[in-house]
């Protein structure tokens, strides 16, 4: 009913993507992923440590049916490092999807637009399906699209901040202009914000902290899934036009008066 969603060489039914960070345990994360119905999840890279097999997320995630695991380039400070991280991620995932994120400042974790653009060009040329985490900048979105990105992923607010869809106006322009999917990533706190993205015609949302840091991540994953589905349906149904004045819904015949 939501309408399948084409991204890279894959087709997704669910328009809710999940990040796997910050969950209290791998088990909680897996239950949330299942409850969300997400078919795309993001993961990070870290150094291998002997004897830390319990941290392994690849095994359990890949055992879930129909999940595309997309490595991110978190930790990269510039384009060169991001390209390297993407190549390492591809070795692990065996697929060309990469969530490109370059945020050199740990205080706000805002994406570096110039390095992101440079890396996007290189990686797209190398055959990657690049999903760039980016500022909600409609001009940059077109540039990233021209660079060959498979989608654009504007931030709603700073990563993990839960400040919500502070960039709504810019995201709306991006959605109107885009020739590739627009996926809002980062900053969302409540399912209603995810619904708002979908109502304005966004293609998907990527949520992590809002679910991982909820009291009940599994239930919150369900709530986000329902909100995304509802928002998508609302967009498909077409919202009514706004009016400056009231437009009566009941006949105003004056039979009650004299």
């Amino acid at each position: 009913m939501q309408g399948d969603f084409r991204l890279g060489d894959r087709t997704f039914t669910s328009r809710l993507f999940l990040g796997t960070g910050k969950f209290s345990s791998t088990d909680t994360m897996l239950r949330a992923v299942r409850a969300s119905g997400a078919e795309l999840v993001t993961v990070a890279l870290r150094r291998f440590h002997e004897g830390r097999a319990e941290d392994d997320v690849y095994g359990p995630l890949s055992s879930l049916p129909g999940i595309t695991i997309v490595p991110n380039t978190s930790g990269a400070m510039n384009a060169k490092e991001a390209v390297r991280a993407a190549m390492l991620g591809r070795e692990l995932s065996g697929s060309p999807f990469v969530k490109l994120e370059i945020h050199p400042n740990p205080h706000h974790l805002l994406p570096d637009p110039i390095e992101t653009y440079e890396a996007a060009k290189i990686l797209s040329r190398e055959g990657f399906f690049v999903l760039p985490y980016m500022p909600a900048d409609p001009v940059l979105a077109k540039r990233l699209e021209d660079a060959g990105c498979a989608a654009v992923m504007p931030l709603g607010a700073a990563i993990g901040s839960g400040q919500g869809l502070t960039t709504a106006g810019m995201v709306e322009i991006m959605i109107r202009d885009a020739c590739v999917p627009v996926i809002v990533d980062a900053g969302l706190r409540s399912p209603s914000e995810a619904a708002a993205v979908m109502e304005m015609g966004g293609d998907a949302v990527l949520v992590n902290s809002a679910i991982a840091a909820a009291d009940n991540p599994e239930l919150m994953a369900e709530a986000f899934a329902a909100a995304v589905a509802a928002g998508r349906k609302a967009w498909q149904a077409g919202l009514m036009p706004r009016s400056e004045v009231a437009v009566a819904t009941s006949p105003l015949t004056a039979f009650l008066g004299d």
Binding site: T20, G21, T26, M29, R46, R47, D56, L88, L92
Partner: protein, 107 residues
Amino acid sequence: MRIRPQRAHGVRLGAGCILRVSGMVPRTRIRGDEFPPKVPGMNLVVNGKPHSHGGGGTLAELFEECRANPAQVAVMINGEVVRRAQWDSVKLVEGDQVEMLVFAAGG
């Protein structure tokens, strides 16, 4: 790292080249038999820590030493990503810096 045949022809010698040259220095001294007895194993840096490698410098041996599951690691040697298809032709040399990466939870 030596990946045959590219490296054998001396092509694309980057940072690894410098490391290999510095790795040669103790061996020259050993021949001059003043200094010091040859250390057992090959000295590598694995994930930022010194690692004495007891094998013949193959990645398969290194994975076994580190108890890493080859199916779940990605490898970078001296800053260069080594694709899975190239693993069998890698010959590690003294001083090589090896990074072994795995997936972790992340957003």
